[in-house]
Structures are given as C-alpha cells and as structure tokens.
C-alpha cells in the first residue's frame, strides 16, 4: 500500500507559504497550476487550510480538462476521444474515459476497464503496457488510475495488489524525497536512454497516489462498516429478543 502519512510529509516539504502552493519537485522550484489542482483535490481531505489557500490562490482561475473528473466536473472535462481519436492506446486516456462513462452510465465503461486489464495483464509483471511505455518507462500514475477504476467497480483485491506494487516500486523510502511517489520506474538496463525527469518524485503523481489510496481505504471502510453494521443489527435484535423473553 501507499504510505499516505509519508506521502503527505513529502508534499509538506514542497509547500511554499510565499506562493501558497506546492512546487513541482524537490529540485524544481516551479509552481504549476496543474500540480496544485491535483494537490487541492487531496488536500480538501488531508489539510483543508492548504486546500483553501490553493483554491483561492494559484488555481482560482484554473480549469482542468482532465483531473476535473475527480471533482465531478463533467462540464469542463474533455472526453478522451476528443483528445485523441485513437485514445484507446493510452492507458491514462482510457482510464479517464472510464470515469466519465461510469459517471454518465455509458455502456462501454466495462470495455474500457477491460482494455486496462489487458494492458496490465499482458506480461504479468505488475506494470501497464501502453503506446508510450517503451518511450517513457513504467508510469506510476497509470497504475494509480487503474486501481481507482477497479475500486469504482468494487474489484478490491486487484486494486489493493496494484497499490501494494506502487508503494513498493515507486514510493521513496529515504533521502530528500522521502515519501514521494516517483513518476516513472525505469529498468536498470534502460539507464541513460531516457529522460531523467520522470524519476523524480513530484507533486502531481504523489497527489494522485494519495487519492488512489484514499479511494481504496474509503471503499474498504465503507464495505467493512456495512458488514459490521449488518452483523450488529442482527446481534442487537437477538439480544433484545432474548431479554424480552426472559
């Protein structure tokens, strides 16, 4: 699983009171609206004060056409077929379209999840393979999105396995980036062939990973609560009846 506490600690280190925003990464003092929109989505739960500062500051005039789907904003969301006609080759676009179809009760949502499942299960090695994997490496945020799709469909076992993998493979365990989630994982044999930027832990990916873990935890809690409440109701009924019969 992803260690949320540690991931939030990483984000805290990227926070600037002066800018009222999170910078992109430890070594990159740039404050993107996109990154902060993502951070805002998770800070609403974990740090409402920072969420307020971000909302009233850096993202006050910002419209996200992708991540707004997580704010239930279907008006500004640009559907994946409008981004790329052949979007089904890109795991993130498939996942985002899945969320849209799921929210709008679109008939093809299950097929979108099926495509992601094939991209994930192709080599059974824990990674997603899509059009750009060979160019960019293995991307954490696509795994997080897939996990979130699975949580939506109550497929909790696989969702949990994926989050385990993301935590294990992408979350930084020591050093200045402690707790952060790296964008990409590059096999050792690919060293030197690909851009290094993706190997930094950054705000956007870390925020998305926190959100994925939050979704998983919330669904688990809700399921457990309902199971517990069901058992509880039954038990209370039995006890009450037994007492009355005495």
């Amino acid at each position: 699983m992803i260690d949320i506490k540690s991931a939030l600690y990483f984000l805290d280190n990227l926070w600037s009171d002066e800018h009222g925003a999170f910078q992109e990464a430890i070594t990159i003092p740039i404050w993107w609206q996109l990154d902060n929109y993502m951070a805002w989505l998770v800070m609403r739960k974990h740090n409402p004060e920072k969420a307020r500062i971000i909302e009233q500051g850096i993202i006050s005039d910002y419209i996200s056409v992708r991540w707004c789907i997580f704010n239930d904003d279907l008006v500004n969301f640009v559907q994946s077929p409008d981004v790329l006609p052949d979007y089904m080759r890109y795991a993130d676009l498939v996942a985002l379209q899945f969320f849209y179809l799921d929210k709008t009760k679109g008939s093809l949502a299950g097929y979108h999840l099926g495509i992601l499942n094939r991209m994930y299960g192709l080599y059974h090695d824990g990674f997603i393979y899509d059009m750009v994997t060979s160019r960019e490496g293995y991307t954490a945020y696509k795994l997080c999105l897939f996990s979130m799709c699975l949580v939506k469909y109550n497929l909790m076992t696989l969702a949990g396995q994926i989050l385990d993998w993301v935590g294990q493979k992408y979350q930084v365990l020591e050093g200045a980036e402690l707790g952060g989630i790296k964008t990409e994982w590059i096999p050792p044999e690919w060293e030197g062939q690909y851009p290094t930027l993706g190997r930094l832990a950054n705000t956007e990916t870390t925020a998305l990973a926190i959100m994925a873990q939050d979704w998983y935890d919330a669904k688990k809690s809700s399921n457990n609560f309902m199971l517990g409440a069901g058992v509880g109701f039954g038990a209370i009924g039995a006890i009450t009846r037994a007492r009355k019969q005495k």
């Binding site: 299950g110 069901g230 009355k244």
Partner: protein, 148 residues
Amino acid sequence: MAQYRYPLELQTSPFAIALNPNETYDHVGVYIYRTLILPITILLSFAASSIETEISYVEVFDADNDRFLLAEKTAITGNTEFVIEWDGSGVFEPRVWLGSFVTSITIAFNLPENQVVMEIRPGFNAAPYALAMGAVVGIGLVATGRRK
C-alpha cells in the same frame, strides 16, 4: 472526409469495412489500431471484379510510421486475399484507388486469448446486502420477541 478509427481488440473477426470514398480514393480513412502494441497477422480480403480488364489498385498505409504494409498501388483482379504481418504499431489503413472495382473489404485476425478485451462488470458487493439482511433479521427478532 470522415475518418473512422477502430481498435482491433474491440472488433469481432472477421469484420467488413464500409467503403468510404473521397476525391482521391474509392476507399480511405478507415484506420485500424491496436490497444496493445503487439504483432499480429491480418488476413485482408478485397472483393473485386474478376473481369481481366477491370483492374483494381489497393494498398495498406501506416501514416503514423509513414510506411506501406501492403505495397503502394498493388494491382488485383477478382477476389484477392493478402496475409499481412503487422507489428501492431501505428495504424492499418486499407486504401482503394479511385476507379477501382472493389465492392467490399474484410479484415480477419486471430487474437491470442490474453489479448482479447473482455467487458469487466462491477464486482459483487456483499456489504449493502449484509447490512440490509442484518437490519431485517434484527427487526424481525425484536418484533417476534414482542409478540410473545
């Protein structure tokens, strides 16, 4: 010109491509692409006039990689099949030249089981039912206890 893009994994083999003429081609603008970038063998069939003088010209172009998967302006007469080994990258766009005598195009392929895309349905969630069942049982027990 209308363009049509079909993900191969969501098609049932074989499937026919509707002719889509424009001012240069009798058929063009229908792109097949793979959601999994893996090699596949495509059986491409053209139904065409079998009269010797009525020659049709066909080709398969991959615009993403600027390459022909079936040689440019391949001449055919009669119903003709091509077995094309496609590495799965880019797009697979069958084209028919203007003035040809092709009446239909069919694509057939055999996807390995691990590449077939299946619709995934939401998992069964027992929790709400457990809650409802518990409530019914609990209330039932209390109610029947009262009667006694």
